[in-house]
Every structure is written in C-alpha cells, then in structure tokens.
C-alpha cells in the first residue's frame, strides 16, 4: 500500500504536465483528462456540446475540468425569472446561461470547480463518478466528512451541500457534470439565487434550495487547483491512464470545428430566455402618483419568453383607454425583457399626444411593469 502511494507520488511529480496541445492524446483505452483555458461559461458549455456531438467515446471516457467567472447557470427546463434575481444579475454584470442538462440552478465563480464525465450512453453512471470525487477528496484530506446522497448531491458534515449534479443524454453519448464549492462567494450566491418576482405560475423544473458551504471553510489550505489535481489523479488511476491534463482552448476552431457557432447559440436570447417553458405572471402593484395611491393588476402569459397575452387593469380613465390598448397591443408578441420593453414604450411615446401629465403617468406605469421583468 505504502509503495503504491510512493509510486503515485513519483508519477504525480514527474507527470503533472499541463502542456497545451492542439489535438487529443490517443490512448488505447481509459480516460482522457482535459481542462479549459477559458473562464467563459458559454464557451465551456459549448465544449460539452461539442464533445457530446463529435467525440467517439466507445473506447475512451473523458473528464473535462472547467471554472467560470461569475455566472448563474439554470437547468434546461427552468424558468430564470423563478430561479434568480435577474435585476441583480444585470446590475452586477453576472452572466446568465442555460445549460443543456436538466436539474436546478447554480451559481458559478472562480471559487467553484466544474467536472464533466463523458461516457457512452451505455456506460452512463452518476453514482460511480460522484464516488470517485469523494474518494479523491478523502485522499487529499482524510478528515473531511463528505458523502454522496441518493439525490446525487455531495454533502459536507452531513449537512451542507458542496456539490450539485446534472446530466445530459444524447443519442450515443452522455455526460454527467457536477459542481464543487471550494471558495465561492456565498454572499453573492445567496443573493442572486433568490428570485424577487412574484405571481409566477409555471411548470418549469424548480430548484431545491440547500444550505451550502465551501470546502475552504472546512480547511483553509485547500485551493481549487488542489481539488482539480486530486480529482484528475483519481480519475487517471481508475481509468488506468497517466495523470496528464490536456489544455484546450474553447475558441479554437481548428481543434473543435464548429465550436464558435455552439458558443454563439448558447448566448442567444432565444436559448437563454426563449426556452423557458410557458408560464404566467399574475401580480399587482401600487403606484404613488402625486397624492394618490393606485392599484394596478397585471396578468400575462409568456411563451418562448414572449408575451402571448397581456392584461393591464388600471383605475378607470387614469390613462386614456386608447393609449392603454395601444400599450397592450404593442406588448403582445414582444419579449418579456426590460430592455425591449423600455425601448418599445419610449418609442411609442413619440406618437402620443404631447402632454407632460400624460407622459409622466405613462412612464410611471411602464417603469413599474418593467420591474416585473
């Protein structure tokens, strides 16, 4: 046993190379470990798509290691309005991405590592992968109390979630990916993952909130690099391959032809917001105008991220009915998006009667409506 670990250490010392290569190293069997040089969530998600579509995993399995700059990642069938504080995301310039796998919403930053296990569909086995991760963690820090639950979460001290899982199965290949919290910003995490939007009714997959903890809090000597290394080593051992991590650049078309199109697709509004399952918004808000309080009731049906049906209930004659119906007509078919709505309502104002009173009422109503988005 001791000899084996000594040998392992030797291998680790001599073989932990991270050489950038334009192609993939061929091994007759076993695993290939690749790491992304990019921190862009869209580029990294595109790599997963690319491998799913283009790689032959019959004789080889792949482990993909990646980290992202601050981003919120929602599951394939989720509703971003339900899952996170979109206003805060926009303010803080945190990206929003929709991944192709199922599951719930997570927050990524550079203190979180992502692991993707690629196999053929037949060899898809999530429990095995998570056990591998736990084994690696325990090898690194034997005193860590980490275990896998039957919901495919990894818990620290039986209480705190440090890893969440999701998976995607394609025609012949599949991947299982999971997060691992090393040193993420928990404050930002909890504030962005709290949705302020009321009155949403949807069949989208809901997230299950959980208390989280960073591994760093348990052991301040841990870094993301160490975790990545430990997991790569365990993977290499289990797949009888050498502990060699190939770096890949997710923008390189020569290595990953067609990758930039995949990256672009993941960034389109149609994918991020437009793929939200049909939902409805039914809410009311009050506005203070001069010395009066007004109650406004809004009902909207949103399909493919666009307002399919819109109903605004205002106190009578507060706005000329013609104007009101013009607003509703213009909003119908429009994206449920604050920017789109802002430009729409301000443009419409140009063809309204030029009355300051009217304009301030219109602006007040529209600003409140935009807050819903």
């Amino acid at each position: 046993m001791v000899l084996q670990s000594l040998l392992k250490n030797c291998l680790q010392l001599s073989c932990t190379l991270r050489t950038p290569k334009a192609g993939f190293r061929s091994t007759t069997s076993g695993g290939l470990i690749i790491q992304s040089t990019s921190n862009d969530v869209y580029q990294n998600l595109a790599v997963e798509d690319w491998i799913l579509d283009h790689m032959n995993l019959e004789n080889r399995q792949v482990l993909f290691l990646w980290r992202n700059s601050p981003a919120v990642v929602i599951g394939r069938h989720q509703n971003p309005w339900q899952e996170c504080n979109l206003r805060l995301l926009r303010q803080k310039n945190i990206k929003l991405a929709r991944r192709r796998s199922g599951g719930g919403t997570v927050y990524h930053d550079l203190g979180n590592i992502n692991l993707t296990f690629f196999t053929t569909r037949k060899k898809y086995e999530r429990m095995e992968n998570l056990k591998l991760v736990v084994k690696a963690l325990k090898a690194l820090r034997p005193q860590l109390d980490v275990h896998v639950t039957d919901r495919y979460d990894i818990l620290l001290d039986r209480q705190y979630k440090i890893s969440g899982t999701a998976a995607k199965l394609g025609r012949t290949t599949a991947y299982h990916h999971c997060t691992l919290l090393c040193n993420a910003d928990k404050f930002v995490l909890s504030s962005v993952l709290k949705s302020p939007y009321k009155g949403l009714k949807s069949n989208a997959t809901p997230s299950v909130p959980a208390s989280v903890k960073n591994l760093f809090e348990e052991d301040p000597s841990l870094t993301c690099e160490m975790l990545l290394d430990a997991i790569a080593e365990e993977y290499a051992t289990q797949h009888q391959t050498d502990h060699h991590i190939t770096l890949i650049n997710p923008a390189d078309e020569t290595v990953l032809p067609g990758i930039n199109n995949k990256t672009k697709e993941l960034q389109t509004w149609e994918w991020v917001y437009g793929k939200t399952p049909k939902f409805s918004v039914s809410t009311c808000f009050n506005m203070v105008y001069k010395d009066s309080f007004l109650d406004v009731k809004i009902d909207m049906d949103i399909k493919h991220g666009r307002i399919e049906v819109c109903n605004i209930d205002l106190p009578e004659q507060w706005l000329p009915p013609a104007l009101c119906s013009e607003l509703v007509k213009s909003l119908t078919g429009s994206k449920f998006c604050p920017n789109e709505t802002t430009t729409l309502v301000t443009t419409l104002l140009r063809v309204c009667p030029q009355d300051n009173e009217l304009h301030s009422r219109w602006n007040l109503l529209c600003e409140n409506m935009i807050m819903l988005m």
């Binding site: 334009a22 192609g23 993939f24 061929s26 091994t27 007759t28 579509d53 283009h54 032959n56 019959e58 004789n59 080889r60 599951g75 394939r76 069938h77 926009r90 192709r100 796998s101 199922g102 599951g103 053929t120 898809y124 899982t165 999701a166 998976a167 995607k168 199965l169 394609g170 025609r171 012949t172 599949a174 997959t205 020569t254 290595v255 032809p257 067609g258 793929k275 399952p277 213009s330 909003l331 119908t332 429009s334 994206k335 920017n339 789109e340 802002t342 430009t343 729409l344 309502v345 301000t346 443009t347 419409l348 140009r350 063809v351 009667p353 030029q354 602006n363 529209c366 600003e367 935009i370």
Partner: protein, 476 residues
C-alpha cells in the same frame, strides 16, 4: 455532389441490410429488456410505434419537457423528436426512422414510460430502418457514415476526411493505430501520429471536416459493377438553391418603430446640407483628449457637435420646438435635450443628453459615456430615452457623407453627420492644404421651419466648429 449522394444512398441500402444482420447478433448480447426490431422491409405507409428506449440507471419514467416536432411533420433518422427529463438528467430522444409523425402519445409535462410508445411514425417504405442498437457512433453527418460503409471492404477503416488528412501529411494509414470502433482510424489518431513524428501538433487543414469527392483510387464500387465511378464534375448541372424564405412577425420594439416612422412620414421634410472644415477642431480635440482621460472620460467629437448645436438653438429656438397634433400651436421647449442616435443590437435607439444649454463640453462627454455604456449593455432607462427635443445622428462612424435623415416626432429637426475625410481645399491665400472635412445633412419640418432659418442655424453651428475659439465668446 447531389447525384453522387443519391448513388451512395442507393448502394448503401444494399449494404446496410447485410450490415444490419451482423449487428443483430451483437445486439442480442447487449439488450437489456429491449425487444429487437426486425429490420426487414416495411410496407408503404405502415404506422410504427416508436417506443421510448432505456435511459439507463434503471429509470422507468420521465417527464416530457419539449416536443421538437408536431403531428404531420416529416422526420429523418437521427432528428430530435423531444426532450425528456428524469431526475436532473435531460435526454434528447432522436428518431430511429424516416417518416411522418402521425401521433404524439404525450402532452408537455406528462409522464412518459420507458418501453411504451412515444410517437407513431408512418414509415416511408423505400427507406431502411436503423437497427435496435446504435451502430454508428459518429454524429448524424450521414454522408460520412455512408462513405465509411462503402469502403468497408478495405483493411484500414477511415473516413475520406481522415484519409485526405493522412495523404496531405504523407502518412501511411497502415502505420497508424486506429482507436475508433473496429480499429477505425480517427482524426485524433492521425494528429497523434504526427505529434510523435514531429514533436508538435500540426493543425489539420481547415477543410478537413468537409467531405471531399472521393479520389478515384479509393472508391470501392457498390453492388452492380457496371456503375461507372465518376468524380463529380459540377459543370453542366443546374444550380440548385435550397434556401427558403423566412417570414417572421414584427413585434415589440420594431412594431413601435413602424408606428413612429409612419408618423414621421406625415411631416413635410426639407433638407439642407453643408460641409464643415474640422481641421482646427481635430487639433483641439487631440489636445483635450488626454485631459479628459485623466478625469476618466473618453472625449469624442460628439460633445463639441452637441454643444455647438445648443448654442445655435439659443439663437434659433424654433428648431427646438414641437408642433401639436392639430398643428394649431407651437411649443418652444426650454430644455435642449439633444438626442444622440445609437446603433445597438436591437436597432436604432436615441437616448438624449438633458439640458445641454447648462452643460459644459466635458459634462456632455461624461454623460455620453454613461449613455453609451448603458446602451451597449441594454440597460438604458425610460428617462434617458424620453424627453428629447433635437437629434444628431453620427452615421459617419459607420460611413457615408451626405444623408437624408428622418425627423423623430415630436421633434422638428434632425442632423446627420457624415464621416471626416481628409480632402484638399484652398485656404485664404489660394494655396491647397489638407483639410479635415465632414458633411452635415439637416432635415426640418417645413410646416414651421423655413429654409432660411435652417441655413442660418447651420452656418452658426458650422462657424462654432470651424473656429472652436469662437464658442468661448458665447459660453454661458
């Protein structure tokens, strides 16, 4: 290429049925609780029930989350049919058949069961059927699959793209270890072979992914031997363009623009154009740019154009007015809220700088920076986008000289600025010198503004810009 493909298709059918029998046996080894489909020819128009195949991990039920097709759609083998979800796993279900979708057995958010019918597909009798187990691991680049099967007779298995890569690098395929199925040689194997040879990875030629026409020596003739093997020569074939028209509804912001522009059309426009010598201004800006930079502001030419316009509007306030709907009253606006046309992903938006009449050039520049960054982030607020009284459009940043801008109601005038060009001009002494020339094109509402007013305003604006020091005299 078209013709070539059709031929390969017909020859593949022949080979495929042989192939399929081979794989049925191996499928037996791998099947779990799956029933095998007989791949004999199906009679025309037969409805086949496509069952939901095994997801793995012992999962028996999933939720249908999205349909990619609807009843009546025609579908090809490997096309995506729907997306189902089970316990954090999202699965794309692809079609095993070519045919027409006749029935969807589930609605969105219904629970679907593994082994039970998912959709009914009416099969086209002339086409074959994929075997139960997925035979080919490469993605639905069916051309590649067909050619692969075509040359199965050879000892070394490799797709034409891989063969070409090997040929280009003078590599004998027999010397390369194949890591694909059945020892098939993959592109990575060629790259690795090269790496070992030269110690560096050569990037594959960018066209390696495009399947080239097969070189004569490598084509294996399909079943009937008298079929001539020809390299496709695209000379006398009619050019087939398979693009389709795409119609989409006009929604949201674009709908609003339609309304605005239709209203603008009702305004009787007249135009007035001129050229401005910006030589002195260019020099001034060069001097002031670093000063603004120190204060954290990027200084372009626009702040100067905007301030000069405001100074001009003080003398010709009719250009900063608004005509009511009935054309009975003119309202002279006190604030000079000068709009700046911005090109964003969405299209044209016009935020405005408020109260330019009391702003310094630096303050205008600072405000422009703020509007520009909000504009590119898609975060402009209603206040920034409303209340404009006069607009400048710097189309010259994209290009062009003279333009015919359209007035944005409820305003009465607009100016379009062309690009700055270095042109030869005569100076006071009759000498030719290099001048920085920009063209301006004004449009105004002829119901309340006349040509003379526009001309005089333009001349005043021009004089401020051609001799920037003169702006100092009138600054408040």
């Amino acid at each position: 290429v078209c013709i070539h493909r059709v031929r390969s298709c017909s020859s593949i059918r022949f080979i495929k049925s042989k192939y399929v029998c081979v794989f049925d046996k191996s499928a037996l080894k791998f099947s779990h609780q799956q029933r095998l489909f007989r791949t004999s020819a199906v009679s025309c128009g037969q409805i086949v029930q496509f069952k939901l195949s095994d997801i793995g991990e012992g999962i028996t039920e999933v939720t249908v989350k999205e349909w990619y097709i609807k009843e009546g759609d025609s579908v090809s083998q490997f096309d995506s049919i729907c997306e189902v979800q089970s316990d954090k796993a999202s699965v794309t279900i692809t079609s095993r058949y070519d045919g027409i979708i006749r029935k969807l057995h589930y609605n969105l958010d219904d629970i679907a069961y593994v082994g039970k019918p998912l959709v009914d597909i009416e099969i086209d009798a002339s086409k074959g059927v994929a075997p139960e187990e997925d035979v080919v691991e490469t993605p639905p680049m069916s051309h590649e699959e067909h050619t692969h099967q075509e040359i199965k007779g050879h000892k070394t298995l490799a797709t034409p793209a891989v063969r070409r890569l090997a040929m280009e690098n003078n590599i004998k395929l027999s010397e390369v270890v194949g890591t694909g199925k059945d020892n098939r040689i993959l592109k990575e194997d060629i790259l690795n072979y090269l790496a070992k040879q030269t110690g560096a990875i050569l990037p594959p030629s960018p066209k390696a992914e495009i399947i080239p026409p097969l070189p004569k020596s490598e084509t294996v003739p399909a079943a009937p031997k008298d079929k001539a093997r020809k390299i496709p020569v695209p000379v006398s074939r009619p050019i087939v363009f398979s693009g389709k028209d795409k119609t989409e509804p006009i929604t949201g912001f674009h709908k609003a623009m339609v309304k605005t522009m239709s209203a603008a059309l009702k305004i009787p426009h007249f135009g007035y154009c001129d050229e401005i010598d910006l030589t002195q201004l260019v020099q001034l800006r060069e001097e002031l740019k670093p000063l603004a930079q120190i204060r954290g502001v990027k200084l372009s030419f626009m702040p100067f154009f905007i301030k000069a316009a405001s100074l001009g509007l003080l003398q010709y306030p009719i250009l900063n007015a608004s005509l009511d709907e009935s054309c009975q009253n003119v309202t002279y606006k006190a604030s000079h809220n000068i709009g700046v046309a911005m090109d964003t992903e969405q299209g044209l938006i016009v935020p405005n700088v408020k109260n330019v009449q009391v702003c310094s050039v630096f303050e205008i520049a600072s405000e422009l920076n703020r509007l520009q960054s909000l504009g590119s982030a898609g975060q402009l607020g209603t206040n920034d986008l409303t209340g404009g009284t006069f607009t400048l459009s710097n189309i010259g940043t994209i290009g062009g000289t003279y333009a015919k801008p359209v007035i944005l109601p409820p305003e009465v005038a607009i100016g379009a600025l062309g690009k700055i060009q270095v042109l030869p001009r005569f100076n006071g002494k009759g000498e030719v010198f290099k001048a920085q020339i920009m063209n301006v094109s004004w449009s105004a509402d002829h119901r309340i503004i006349d040509g003379a007013t526009m001309a005089r305003f333009s001349n005043l604006w021009k004089s401020y810009l051609e001799n920037p020091a003169s702006m100092l005299l009138d600054l408040k």
